[in-house]
């Protein structure tokens, strides 16, 4: 990709600088909301409530962020960050394990009910949590899982998408490998552990990136089932930081929290860009 051959196609000249101008302009517009949030997280409350607020960072970065992390508004933001990490990582790891196992069963075995289970998993694609919120909430409540990690995690952990992705991938593993390990008398789980799992490494990593962000960015579900501030996740907790009446919101702390809430997923996306793009394209197509 780096050295596309130009041939007859003009790639240089008058159009090029204009292209850069457009791109820079686009990036600036797209970036502006994040920049503004960052600036707001480094200035004092009086600077914000007397508009227009400055567009260049101030010197209150340490004060605002430590205030958010240590005391927060309802609950320290550090607590919410821990909750978000537990939720996002458990959802990602859980989905990957469950999907690997079920895809392995579907591809490498013929057992009674195989088609039935396959379609059952397929149908869950059509049941996003948003359309079954009230009854799912009742189920979770009847298990006594409100305000608990298991309540945050389990209802979101079954993923038809990941199962299909692994199924597609397993179908590309050469038959000879399974044949050989069967001839060698290896057990199915040995084959899974020694051959299938190592071969799936890249897929697992790519999926992890996508699923981590999915879990981290959940909003509606944590909003419903975590009524205690100690169990809030950071993404849903921000809305709780706004005062309910006519009081002025503590914008510097809220904006510092917004920045803290986006740092982990941004690091994952930007740092693992290639895996992320691969995971995105694979899991959607």
């Amino acid at each position: 990709m780096a050295n596309k051959i130009n041939g007859m196609v003009e790639k240089r000249g008058s159009g090029l600088w204009l292209t850069h101008v457009f791109m820079v302009f686009g990036v600036l517009i797209i970036f502006f909301p994040i920049w503004l949030a960052f600036v707001a997280s480094t200035v004092t409350q009086p600077e914000i409530v007397k508009p227009p607020m400055p567009l260049w960072p101030g010197d209150q970065l340490w004060e605002n962020y430590s205030k958010a992390l240590v005391s927060g508004i309802n609950v320290p933001v550090s607590t919410m960050l821990v909750n978000s990490f537990v939720m996002a990582i458990s959802i990602a790891v859980g989905k990957i394990i469950i999907s690997l196992l079920s895809a392995f069963a579907i591809v490498y075995f013929r057992f009674p009910g195989r088609n039935f289970f396959f379609w059952m998993i397929f149908l869950t694609l059509m049941l996003p949590v948003e359309v079954r919120i009230v009854p799912t909430y009742e189920v979770v409540a009847s298990f006594g899982m409100l305000n608990s990690y298991s309540g945050l995690i389990f209802p979101l952990i079954a993923s038809a998408t990941a199962t299909f992705l692994f199924r597609q991938f397993f179908l590309t593993i050469p038959d000879e490998l399974a044949e050989a390990s069967r001839v060698d008398g290896a057990s199915p789980m040995r084959f899974f552990w020694d051959i299938v799992l190592p071969m799936s490494r890249t897929n697992i990593a790519a999926l992890f990136v996508i699923l981590f962000i999915y879990g981290w960015n959940q909003y509606l579900w944590p909003l419903l089932i975590t009524t205690e501030p100690e169990m809030n996740t950071i993404v849903m907790g921000i809305k709780q930081m706004f005062p309910s009446g006519d009081d002025v919101a503590d914008w510097p702390v809220i904006m510092a929290t917004s920045i803290l809430a986006m740092i982990p997923p941004v690091i994952v996306v930007v740092g693992m860009q290639r895996l992320f793009i691969r995971g995105l394209v694979d899991s959607e197509k």
Partner: protein
């Protein structure tokens, strides 16, 4: 599917598939079944008993002007979000594709918003347009435009659309850029030899080749604006003013959890189930077509 080598035994695969099946049954199928069941009843105000009303809840919904308005709101909202996220993304992708050097840097910058949760995006945009402290609304005020999305339904809609479309620009950009880079150079060169300039080539050669990607993104973005924008709306407008930004998913939440009208909320869930089903079928029809070419 060709004949594959398989292992013998049936208890092991059942054991392997059990976790997913059990979770799906408990947290997906049982609640969905409950939603269908509840949609046929009206519970009394104390939740002690409920009366079977058949399709009464549905009849009531479709005669309810707020629910019909919510359908229109959802349609307007999802069309606007889709357009506002796909057009800038396509433009940026075309620009990035023209660059030999530096497109990677731009890409890194442009994928940031994808990582930002819809609810956080809502907070960021709310901050910019806040009637008291917002920078953008303040400058608009200086220009003589009195921005107030708290009272003005049209402005509220505009704000939730932009905040929802913002993160999707990254997503669409990545898919468009990948599709553009997959366009065979030979095709472009042939058009160039025939004397077609850049934009002429774009309209006549490149765009038709992008149409499968564009269609895919169209469906995915509609699904997104239907189901994943709850966070944006909840943080910015809470469905107001006067329900002008109450999309269907928001209404299920508002009627079920805030209004405690369980029968109606369940009936709305069932209607949404049909919508998801329809969208999923369209999506798979498309994938099937793509696999066979």
């Amino acid at each position: 599917m060709n004949q594959r080598v398989t292992f013998r035994g049936w208890w092991l695969p059942i054991l392997l598939i059990a976790p997913q099946v059990i979770i799906s049954a408990v947290f997906f199928f049982y609640p969905a079944g409950q939603a269908i069941w509840q949609s046929l009843f009206i519970p009394d105000p104390f939740g002690l008993s409920s009366v079977f009303v058949g399709l009464g809840n549905f009849e009531f919904l479709f005669s309810d002007k707020f629910y019909r308005a919510s359908f229109v709101t959802t349609a307007v909202f999802s069309i606007l979000v889709t357009l506002c996220s796909m057009i800038p993304a396509l433009f940026l992708a075309v620009m990035a594709d023209r660059l030999i050097k530096g497109s990677g840097t731009y890409r890194t910058m442009l994928i940031w918003p994808y990582a930002v949760a819809p609810a956080i995006a809502g907070v960021l945009w709310l901050f910019m347009f806040n009637t008291r402290v917002g920078v953008v609304s303040w400058y608009l005020g200086q220009l003589g435009y009195d921005w107030n999305h708290v009272l003005n339904g049209g402005e509220a809609m505009g704000l939730v659309v932009v905040a929802s479309a913002w993160g999707r620009i990254s997503y669409n950009f990545l898919f468009f850029l990948a599709a553009l880079q997959a366009v065979p150079r030979s095709v472009i060169e042939a058009a160039a030899i025939d004397g077609a300039r850049f934009w002429k080539r774009f309209w006549t050669v490149v765009l038709p080749l992008l149409s499968p990607t564009a269609f895919f993104l169209l469906v995915v973005n509609i699904v997104y604006s239907f189901f994943e924008t709850f966070g944006v709306i909840h943080t910015i407008t809470s469905g107001g003013p006067q329900q002008s930004t109450t999309i269907l998913v928001y209404k299920v939440f508002a009627d079920g959890f805030v209004g405690q009208d369980l029968g109606s909320s369940a009936a709305q869930s069932v209607i949404l189930l049909f919508v998801v089903g329809l969208l999923t079928i369209i999506q798979f029809k498309y994938i099937e077509k793509k696999v066979h070419y």
